[in-house]
């Protein structure tokens, strides 16, 4: 396997007094796609937020591209090449679609620009029709497309999608899965959270299941499917 681009070691994260992550270890290698699964409220988003620095873990450390991120600002971590699409989208309501995309534009650390404005619009033709609309005026699914497109505009090495396809129509959701496949081939690593565990496990190399802030399973999609009792116990399937 390739060298890890993002790594968490023994993370303990809190919100105030409530202890959410209990010593989570997690790695993501270059070009790898990992699915993060678990029921509602198990700490998936908290783990992702800890990785990108929005939540500061009280113990443990996060290493991104070989650098410890403790003490780094959120934007500095992002600049290492990590792009995070939070659940609930975070669209800039007061900016137009065009501005939402362009404001984020950035070449990657090597100066490459694989994802351009045009390419994002190619992937989401719906957005091309709405360029002048304000973020607030988009339908829910259009907003989701926009955040993903905006994340891609930063030409990340690591793409983290929380609730990746929430609100997307099946056709578009499938397009997202396809794109993730495509970008994985270009060497971008992804972490996916999505309720559709089957679709996720189809395209990921590895899956991690969280239960109450602890990792209870780690393995390929095949391995996951081979253990229906795991699925039913931890995902309620």
């Amino acid at each position: 396997m390739h060298e890890p681009v993002l790594e968490a070691r023994g993370l303990h994260s809190f919100y105030g007094d409530s202890h959410i992550l209990h010593g989570v270890d997690f790695t993501l290698a270059r070009g790898e796609a990992v699915g993060l699964m678990g029921r509602n409220g198990m700490g998936k988003s908290t783990l992702l937020k800890s990785l990108v620095g929005v939540v500061t873990p009280r113990r443990g450390e996060v290493v991104a591209f070989g650098r410890r991120t403790r003490g780094m600002k959120v934007h500095e971590i992002a600049r290492l090449g990590i792009s995070y699409v939070p659940e609930g989208r975070g669209i800039f309501a007061n900016l137009s679609v065009r501005e939402n995309l362009n404001m984020a534009a950035r070449a990657d650390a090597d100066g490459r620009c694989d994802w351009t404005f045009e390419r994002v619009l190619d992937v989401f033709p719906r957005l091309a029709e709405r360029l002048g609309h304000g973020g607030q005026q988009l339908s829910g699914g259009e907003q989701q497309m926009l955040t993903i497109g905006r994340a891609l505009m930063t030409n990340p090495q690591v793409l983290i999608l929380d609730e990746a396809t929430e609100g997307l129509a099946p056709l578009v959701a499938r397009e997202i899965w396809r794109i993730i496949g495509v970008i994985r081939d270009t060497g971008i690593a992804t972490i996916l959270v999505d309720k559709n565990w089957r679709a996720v496990s189809d395209i990921t190399d590895r899956n991690v299941i969280l239960v109450k802030g602890r990792v209870v399973f780690e393995g390929s999609g095949g391995a996951l499917r081979a253990q229906p009792e795991l699925l039913s116990e931890h995902l309620g399937v």
């Binding site: 678990g38 029921r39 509602n40 829910g140 699914g141 929430e166 997307l168 578009v172 309720k195």
Partner: protein, 254 residues
């Protein structure tokens, strides 16, 4: 009696600038039916719900509730006569406890304007409704947490809990299952099945498993107009729908 039409629209139309987000939309919601509304992103589903709930006024067309023209009613008036809705983008009272979120919804049914000096939280009838709603959406365990401290999925559950506590007869649900985990989704489907006997439900949802599991009638919208209304079988069989919306979904389910 079960198939009584509760909510009916006649040629509803709503434009944003030059864009017709809804055009000539005529649908009927009947008691005892789950009516699923499908369509690609931006088709106008949420807009339709907004028109039905009064959140935005219609450009033209009418809405009837139990035969009464309610096109001009404000959102709160519609809520009070029994039309409840949930939001696609979570729309709760983030600073309040989960219980207070739901309690407020229950309070709206009994404003008790006259009793200015009584303690709202201790009022029995509210409490019952609240407990029931919290139980239904499986949030009883976190009732005293602040809503903003819930996880995304839990907030989605709360979103639904608030609607249920207003005891509506017509439920307009905008992607209620989005963000909920697999198990929670299944429970919600069960819950909706239980409710449908006495309610009319309009369900906007992109989760096809769920939709085909509970919908009695489906309407597919594209670009603001109704493409087709029919039974699950008819919809599945429609080539147009497959092209516009489902894509190769069939194969997976098959």
């Amino acid at each position: 009696m079960t198939n009584e039409v509760l909510l009916r629209t006649v040629k509803l139309r709503r434009t944003f600038g030059g864009l017709a987000a809804n055009d000539r939309v005529s649908i009927e919601l009947k008691r005892g039916e789950v009516h699923a509304l499908l369509g690609p992103n931006g088709a106008g589903k949420s807009t339709l719900i907004n028109l039905l709930s009064g959140d935005i006024p219609a450009t033209s067309g009418e809405v009837f509730y139990c035969g009464r023209d309610i096109t001009k009613l404000t959102p709160h008036e519609r809520s009070l006569i029994g039309i409840g809705r949930s939001y696609q983008k979570t729309n709760i009272f983030p600073g309040f406890t989960v219980r207070e979120n739901v309690r407020l919804a229950a309070q709206s049914r009994e404003p008790r304007a006259a009793r200015i000096f009584s303690d709202a939280a201790a009022f029995g009838p509210y409490c019952e409704v609240v407990d029931e709603a919290l139980h239904l959406v499986r949030l009883a365990g976190v009732a005293d947490r602040k809503a903003s401290e819930l996880s995304h999925g839990q907030q989605r559950q709360l979103e639904l809990g608030i609607v249920l506590a207003t005891k509506p007869r017509v439920l307009l649900l905008d992607e209620p299952l989005a963000g909920m985990g697999h198990e929670e989704s299944l429970k919600m489907i069960e819950l909706l099945r239980g409710l449908v006997a006495s309610h009319a439900i309009l369900l906007v949802e992109h989760d096809m498993d769920a939709v085909f599991a509970i919908a009695d009638v489906l309407t597919v919208m594209v670009n603001g107009v109704v493409l087709i209304t029919g039974t699950p079988q008819e919809i599945r069989a429609s080539r147009e729908v497959r092209e516009a919306y489902l894509g190769a979904e069939e194969q997976q389910d098959a």
